[in-house]
């Protein structure tokens, strides 16, 4: 066992401790932490593809064949072979896989899980469908202005991208523009979106990004309140909001279709994420497919969560996770949360300047998503300032708006990074 593997096991046990004893997003962090331990078992190669397992076997004949399959003139060093495999075109990668298979090696269990669940993109999308089926857009429909709060809170995402690019420009870190985009999405406070984006743009950073995203979501009750208090006056926190109007069933049915059509017209790169989200929500609201909606909210999302978590855990293997970049990601992630929170609160104050129906700025912070934790934080601070001030339902509007906002931001970033050749 290397010192790296040992450290990662300790880190993963720490994640399990936080998940189980401190209730840190346990549905994800228990499988992620456990998967991380499995990924670091020396000799078990659970997180490796067959080709890498063959490399580590050290058999000279196999190494020579692999080098040839990957277009090298011969085996020089493990390092050069690994680089060749990472950059191999698809045909060479398949030849190498055939060599490994003939030599009796097979893909590790977690590597297979990762490929099926995450590399294909299916697991985050299915979870997003389930989240859609669990989401009630009623509070948002009753007060559509709260969508602006969800938009503002995405500033955390983009500020972090800028931060990551800045760190690279200053030579502190070495993040590509794709890395920066993937890191920024932590600020979306939305696990499946973060995993989906990093699986596309920066698969090597996926472990650190997912861990940061879920950990900081669990820390929302600690991160947000000081920022919220600093940016609001006691007076503002006391604002009571008018009761939400009743939203009809038909509005709820039509809303996911309206959102889908806007996505189709203006943001095709967000179509997988928002499409599945709207599909889940339509199944929920339409009232005629409740057995599908129930399954999407239960058996299907649970099964997917188990394999998604273990797959993310496979990216906690020491050689990928123990990297200065991880520290950078953790640092940038918390900044992203903080900026998003602040932007949401400030946007709420801005709305109050231009509108006569006053908004309590405490609900602005809920725009980062982290459903429903952030909305509960808004409610708690509201009650502190005014015991008759129940903000929970009002905060659910920006809260679900934040989910839409992050998915929109994800689509924008995927499009732009690709256009930049990232």
């Amino acid at each position: 066992m290397t010192i790296g593997q040992f450290s990662m096991m300790v880190v993963c046990l720490g994640l399990l401790f936080l998940a189980i004893r401190k209730n840190f997003e346990p549905l994800l962090l228990v499988p992620i932490g456990f998967g991380g331990i499995l990924a670091n078992i020396p000799g078990a190669n659970l997180a490796l593809p067959a080709v890498e397992a063959a490399m580590y076997s050290g058999d000279a004949g196999v190494l020579a064949q692999l080098s040839q399959a990957l277009g090298l003139s011969g085996f020089e060093s493990m390092e050069s072979l690994k680089v060749a495999f990472e950059n191999a075109p698809a045909a060479a990668a398949e030849r190498a896989a055939q060599v490994a298979s003939d030599a009796g090696f097979s893909n590790g269990m977690l590597y297979n899980f990762y490929n099926v669940a995450i590399a294909s993109g299916v697991a985050p999308l299915v979870i997003f469908m389930g989240v859609g089926a669990m989401t009630d857009f009623g509070p948002l429909l009753a007060n559509p202005r709260t969508l602006f709060l969800g938009a503002a809170a995405q500033f955390g995402i983009f500020a972090t991208v800028l931060g990551a690019v800045g760190m690279s420009a200053m030579g502190i870190m070495d993040f590509s523009i794709a890395d920066a985009a993937a890191i920024g999405i932590i600020g979306g406070a939305d696990g499946p979106t973060a995993i989906y984006v990093s699986s596309l743009l920066a698969p090597d950073l996926l472990g650190a990004i997912a861990v940061a995203a879920y950990s900081y979501m669990a820390l929302v009750p600690l991160i947000q309140p000081p920022i919220m208090r600093a940016l609001t006056t006691e007076q503002e926190r006391r604002i009571e909001m008018v009761q939400l109007r009743h939203v009809s069933k038909s509005e709820k049915i039509v809303f996911p279709l309206v959102l889908l059509i806007l996505v189709a017209l203006f943001l095709p790169d967000a179509a997988p994420l928002l499409g599945m989200f709207c599909f889940g929500n339509l199944m929920r609201e339409c009232g005629v497919v409740s057995r599908l909606s129930d399954t999407a909210q239960n058996a299907l999302i649970n099964i997917t969560t188990i394999f998604l978590g273990l797959s993310v855990g496979s990216k906690l293997a020491a050689d990928k996770f123990l990297d200065p970049k991880t520290l950078g990601i953790l640092a940038l992630g918390i900044v992203a949360f903080a900026i998003g929170t602040a932007a949401g609160v400030l946007m709420a104050k801005l709305l109050n300047m231009v509108s006569k129906n006053k908004v309590n700025p405490l609900i602005g912070s809920a725009g980062v998503s982290a459903v429903p934790m952030a909305a509960r934080v808004s409610n708690k601070l509201g009650l502190e300032a005014n015991p008759h001030n129940f903000l929970l339902m009002h905060a659910m509007g920006p809260n679900v708006a934040g989910v839409i906002g992050s998915a929109v931001a994800a689509g924008v970033m995927i499009t732009m990074v690709r256009a930049m050749g990232g």
Binding site: L140, L141, P144, R145, L147, F148, G150, A151, Q154, F155, I157, F158, A159, V161, L162, A164, V165, G166, A169, I177, A180, A181, H246, V247, S248, K249, S250, E251, V254, F255, V258, L259, L262, F266, L267, G287, V288, V289, S290, R291, D294, A401, I404, G405, V408, A409, V412, M413, M416, V417, M420
Partner: protein, 77 residues
């Protein structure tokens, strides 16, 4: 660095524009729906289009259990 600025500016711009559009469309949609398909009709439609048998079963189950709870609570009083 330039790329980072581009992403930030364009990105925030698109997010705001898109959500602004969504606010507008949602508001229009809500007005249209409340004017042309008021709740009463929606309710009528729902009852004329009964959910699939399983769904109905679920609903019934829920109702029964709610009844059981009510009975139980009444007894406790």
């Amino acid at each position: 660095m330039q790329q980072g600025l581009d992403i930030t500016l364009f990105g925030m711009g698109i997010v705001f524009t898109f959500l602004l559009l969504l606010v507008i469309c949602t508001t229009i949609m809500s007005r249209v729906m409340t004017r042309f398909f008021p709740e009463a009709e929606a309710a009528a439609v729902r009852s004329s289009a009964p959910a699939a048998s399983s769904a109905a079963g679920n609903a019934r189950l829920r109702k029964i259990i709610e009844e059981a709870v009510k009975q139980h609570r009444n007894r406790r009083k």
